[in-house]
Subunit: 235 residues, 2 copies
DNA sequence: TCTCCCCGGTTTGGATACAAAATCACTCGA
DNA sequence: TCGAGTGATTTTGTATCCAAACCGGGGAGA
């Protein structure tokens, strides 16, 4: 649970963490500018602090800093989105493989506790629900005991949230809680094949819901967008 | 080839890069203090710049920043070392899997060009030789076309260099150039199984050379170290 | 002699100041 | 009406400054 995080500065951590939460909860949408002054004001700290937080987030791929032009929430392209999801498949497959080599007892116990939380938040608090769904995957990674694997999964789950914010409409892409339950069962049974397969299709489902309809992709050509609205004059 | 790197500041990049090189080439050994003042002086920049570079390196796990106590080159524990190598196995297995699904022609060509460089530097320039050996693995990752996979491999190869600096004696842990050659052959033949296996044992070899003899592990007890130097009085 | 405490020097944490770059708004001209 | 040019305003990049934390040494007391 204790992460490798941010020993560098007591005061910049809250800024970092708030921004991070806001981005992955989609309160700050991709492309939004993040001026150092105003952020500093809202937190009552100087730009120095904010700057550190932004540099960190840039390193994690959640914000994009451009020279002399400041920071804004990252806007992953559709290609990057596929790339990130593919990497996520790789990392989470590793997680499942490692977990299935371990004693399932304590693992399943921890997972079930988390699942209960997920279920209790299900219809009530959408934001909390989304956050818990992400944290399920992070918990899995942490249970492997590998610090570095947990860090990578943590990072990539965040970036996937960002992708959802960019490409998925509404919250169609919420993690299925019952899929999580099935994954837990597979681990409990000690069936590595099944667990890995289930995780794979779970992630594939999330990806599909996120990326199947890239209508609102701002990266596509203006002409192309307009062509959809043009009445067919020559016909 | 174009990395996700450091758009944040024109001037802090050279500092970042020099420190990084110095650390992975083992010129700056684990545990060495990195005071902001003196570094700033040598580069002719202010502490502000240096600080940014150090924060970045901290995020990458190459330096360790402790509150009010400044930065020093990271000292991975033996447990972290095993953790990192295991992660590296996972990432590079993924690299091989992806490469073997692609057209081998251009890949093999690029790799052979690199191999030629490695061979030419072999007995001559030890530092260059080590650097090229690391870059071979990074090149492999880049050839997959996955930005994020390449970034992760890049980061983890750096951290492995740091581990070598910490635990391996002398340069016994140099990558075997001929093992690289065999990996290229396996890719050229399109034999995924073989390529993956060869990569696995190659990395395992590096790890063994690095970690088999953790004599000089500073983490061990002072008493234990001294006991080796104590003449056996009671006998 | 050993230990503890105090003090000066050094280093970091963070805010601020100032210059350079970019952005915005407005005017002028076609 | 539209677009280019220009000055004002905002925002970033970096150096510097001050306060607080840490480190090392020397002296007082046991």
């Amino acid at each position: 649970m204790i992460k490798n995080m941010y020993k560098s500065s007591k005061r910049s951590f809250p800024v970092y963490d708030s921004l991070r939460q806001a981005i992955i909860e989609q309160a700050l949408k991709p492309g939004v500018k993040l001026p150092e002054d105003s952020i500093g004001e809202t937190f009552g700290v100087s730009r120095t602090i904010v700057r550190n937080a932004l540099v960190r987030l840039d390193a994690e791929g959640l914000v994009d800093i451009q020279p002399n032009r400041g920071a804004s929430v990252a806007e992953p392209t559709i290609e990057e989105a596929y790339d990130i999801f593919e990497m996520r498949q790789c990392l989470e497959r590793e997680v499942m493989q490692r977990l299935c080599r371990m004693d399932p007892k304590p693992i399943v116990k921890a997972l079930k506790a988390h699942l209960a939380e997920e279920r209790s938040a299900l219809g009530k608090d959408s934001t909390r629900s989304i956050r818990l769904a992400g944290e399920f995957h992070i918990l899995l990674a942490e249970l492997t005991g590998s610090q570095i694997l947990a860090n990578y999964v943590n990072e990539i789950v965040s970036r996937c949230s960002l992708i959802l914010a960019r490409f998925a409409q509404a919250h169609s892409a919420e993690c299925g809680v019952e899929e999580h339950a099935e994954i837990i069962s597979a681990i409990a049974e000690g069936d590595a094949e099944k667990a890995i397969g289930q995780m794979h299709s779970h992630l594939h489902g999330v990806q599909d819901r996120a990326l199947l309809n890239p209508d609102d992709d701002r990266a596509e050509n203006v002409a192309e967008i307009l062509s959809r609205y043009r009445t067919n004059e020559t016909d």
